[in-house]
C-alpha cells in the first residue's frame, strides 16, 4: 500500500437473534463504529459486507441502502460478497481505498440476518457456496465438508473428540466474558461429551462433528472506520495500524485439492500478511481464527504458523491458547460462541483485535497485547483473508 491505514473506530451489535431487520443491524454497527471514531461526515466511501441478503432477506443493493439510512449520500458505496469471508474482503477493499490515497476515510460494515429463515434453509443457504455440480447436488453442507476434513485430520494427527470439545469449552468460556457474544454460557466436558446424556445435549451434525463442534447461526453486524494516520491521530485513541493483509484462493471443490487437509489458501494468506507486516507468527500476542468448526481452530493454528503441524491440539490441551496462555486464540469466543453472522464475521474479528490492542476488551483483555492476527475463512477454505494489526503508541 502507498500509505499506512489505521482503525480509527470500531463497534458491533450484540450477536444472536436481532429484533430488527438487516438494515437495522447495519445501521447499528455503522453508528457504533462512527461514534467510537468521532468521525461521520468525513466518510468518503462505504463498503458493506454481506453474503446472503438476496437469499435470506430478499434484499439487494445494501451499500446504497445503508448510505440512505445514514443520509450519507452522495458518498460512494457498494456491497462486497465473498461468502463467509465477505467481512475480511470488505475490510481489505476499504484498507486498499485508504492505502492507495483514493480516500482518507472509509466505513466498512458487515452484517447478516440469518435467523429470518429456518435452520435447514440457513444450512442450505450456506451450502450454496459449494461447487454446484460436484458438491451441492449431493446435499453437501458446510458441516459435511468439515466432517470429511476432520476425519482425515484427526486420524493423521491423533486428535480425539475430547480435543475438539476442548476448543468449544475454551471458546464458550471466553464467550461468557464478551457482552456481544451470541452464546454467553460455559459448557463442560461432562455435559457435551462424557456423560450418557451428552448424546442428547450434543447430537451428531456431520460425523465426527457434533453440535458443539459447530458455530451457531446468528444475526449481527460489525463496523470499522478506516483512515489515514493524520485522521486517526485526531481521535485521541491508541493507534491501531493494519500492518499486513494477505488473501489467497484454492479449488472450489474440496476433493480437487492434492491433499484435502492442506489449507493452502490459509497458509498463503497468512504468509503474505506476516511478510507485509514484517513480523513472524511468534510475534503475535492475540489471534482471532475462523472456528466455524472446532477442528478448524486447531488446523488454522498450525497452518498460519503458530504451532508445528500436528501440535495445535497439544498447545490447546496445555492451555497455551486460553486467556492467560502464551497465545490466546479467540478471546471473543470466536465463531463458536460470539456467533457467525457470515457477512459480519471478518469485520467482527478485526473489531475484537482492535479492542484488544487498545486495551478495551474488558474481562477478556489479553495483557500487553500489541500485535494481533485474524484469519477469515471463506468457502471451505477456498478464499481466505488474514490480517496483522499492530498498536503503534
Amino acid at each position: 500500500m502507498l500509505r499506512d491505514v489505521y482503525i480509527a473506530g470500531c463497534g458491533m451489535t450484540g450477536f444472536g437473534r436481532a429484533a430488527g431487520d438487516l438494515l437495522d443491524i447495519l445501521e447499528e454497527a455503522a453508528l457504533a463504529a462512527t461514534e467510537d471514531a468521532g468521525i461521520f461526515s468525513e466518510i468518503e466511501s462505504v463498503f458493506v459486507a454481506n453474503m446472503g441478503a438476496g437469499i435470506l432477506n430478499h434484499m439487494s443493493g445494501l451499500g446504497s441502502a445503508l448510505v440512505d439510512r445514514l443520509c450519507l449520500y452522495p458518498t460512494p458505496a457498494e456491497l462486497v460478497e465473498n461468502g463467509p469471508a465477505s467481512g475480511g474482503s470488505a475490510a481489505k477493499i476499504g484498507a486498499y481505498a485508504v492505502g492507495s490515497g483514493a480516500v482518507d476515510v472509509a466505513l466498512v460494515v458487515g452484517g447478516e440476518k440469518m435467523r429470518a429463515v429456518t435452520g435447514w434453509e440457513a444450512t442450505d443457504f450456506v451450502a450454496t457456496l459449494s461447487h454446484p455440480q460436484a458438491e451441492y447436488i449431493y446435499g453437501v453442507t458446510l458441516p459435511a465438508l468439515a466432517g470429511m476434513f476432520a476425519r482425515l485430520y484427526m486420524e493423521k494427527y491423533g486428535i480425539t473428540p475430547e480435543h475438539l470439545a476442548r476448543v468449544a469449552l475454551k471458546n464458550h468460556e471466553n464467550g461468557t466474558k464478551n457482552p456481544y457474544a451470541h452464546i454467553q454460557q460455559a459448557v463442560s466436558l461432562d455435559g457435551i461429551l462424557n456423560r450418557p446424556e451428552a448424546v442428547v445435549n450434543n447430537p451428531w451434525v456431520a460425523e465426527p462433528l457434533r453440535m458443539f463442534d459447530c458455530c451457531p447461526v446468528s444475526d449481527g453486524g460489525a463496523g470499522l472506520v478506516l483512515c489515514s494516520k493524520e485522521m486517526a491521530e485526531k481521535t485521541g485513541k491508541p493507534l491501531v495500524k493494519i500492518s499486513g493483509i494477505g488473501q489467497a484462493t484454492d479449488t472450489h471443490a474440496v476433493h480437487e485439492r492434492e491433499d484435502p487437509i492442506e489449507l493452502k489458501a490459509v497458509q498463503l494468506a497468512a504468509k503474505k500478511a506476516f511478510e507485509e507486516a514484517g513480523i513472524k507468527p511468534s510475534d503475535v500476542d492475540v489471534a482471532e481464527l475462523h472456528d466455524a468448526f472446532t477442528i478448524l481452530e486447531i488446523a488454522e493454528s498450525e497452518q498460519v504458523g503458530f504451532f508445528e503441524r500436528g501440535t495445535g491440539h497439544i498447545a490447546l490441551e496445555k492451555g497455551e491458547t486460553s486467556l492467560g496462555g502464551k497465545l490466546p486464540i479467540n478471546p471473543s469466543g470466536g465463531l463458536k460462541a460470539r456467533g457467525h453472522p457470515v457477512g459480519a464475521t471478518g469485520v467482527a474479528q478485526l473489531v475484537e483485535i482492535a479492542w484488544q490492542l487498545r486495551g478495551d476488551a474488558g474481562e477478556r483483555q489479553v495483557k500487553n497485547a500489541r500485535t494481533g492476527f485474524t484469519c477469515n475463512f471463506g468457502g471451505f477454505g477456498n478464499n481466505v483473508l488474514c490480517f496483522v494489526l499492530e498498536r503503534e503508541n
Binding site: 461447487h131 447436488i137 446435499g139 459435511a144 482425515l152 471443490a253 476433493h255 480437487e256
Partner: protein, 109 residues
C-alpha cells in the same frame, strides 16, 4: 440416463471431474469428455445428520473417492460400514429429489 462426466487434458492426461477452462496441472485448454464411472477408493466420508433442504432421509452418507486414474469426486455413499481406503464402485443414480425432480449423481457402493 444422465451421464456424469470427467475431463481429460489432451496435453498432460490429468483427469478431473470438475470442468475447468484450463487444466489445473499444466494449464492446457483442450479436453476429452467421457463418463465417470468404475472402481474407486474411499478417501474420507461423513454421515450427515443435519441435512439441508429437500431430504426425507434421517441422514445421508457422503464420501470423497479417488478413481484408478487419479480422478477424484464426491458422491453419495451406500455402504453400511465405510472405512477409509475401501474399494468402491461408482454408479449413476438419484442423489436428491429437488422440486419433484430427481437429481442424478455419483453413487458409491
Amino acid at each position: 440416463m444422465t451421464e456424469i462426466s470427467a475431463y481429460t487434458c489432451k496435453d498432460c492426461g490429468k483427469r478431473t471431474h470438475v470442468r475447468h477452462s484450463h487444466c489445473p496441472a499444466c494449464k492446457g485448454t483442450s479436453f476429452d469428455e467421457a463418463p465417470l464411472s468404475g472402481k474407486a477408493k474411499l478417501l474420507t466420508f461423513t454421515r450427515v445428520h443435519a441435512l439441508s433442504l429437500a431430504y426425507e432421509d434421517r441422514h445421508i452418507t457422503l464420501g470423497i473417492v479417488e478413481f484408478e486414474d487419479g480422478c477424484r469426486a464426491l458422491g453419495r455413499l451406500y455402504v453400511d460400514d465405510p472405512r477409509i481406503g475401501m474399494e468402491l464402485t461408482a454408479e449413476i443414480g438419484t442423489v436428491r429429489v429437488h422440486e419433484l425432480e430427481e437429481v442424478k449423481g455419483l453413487c458409491f457402493k
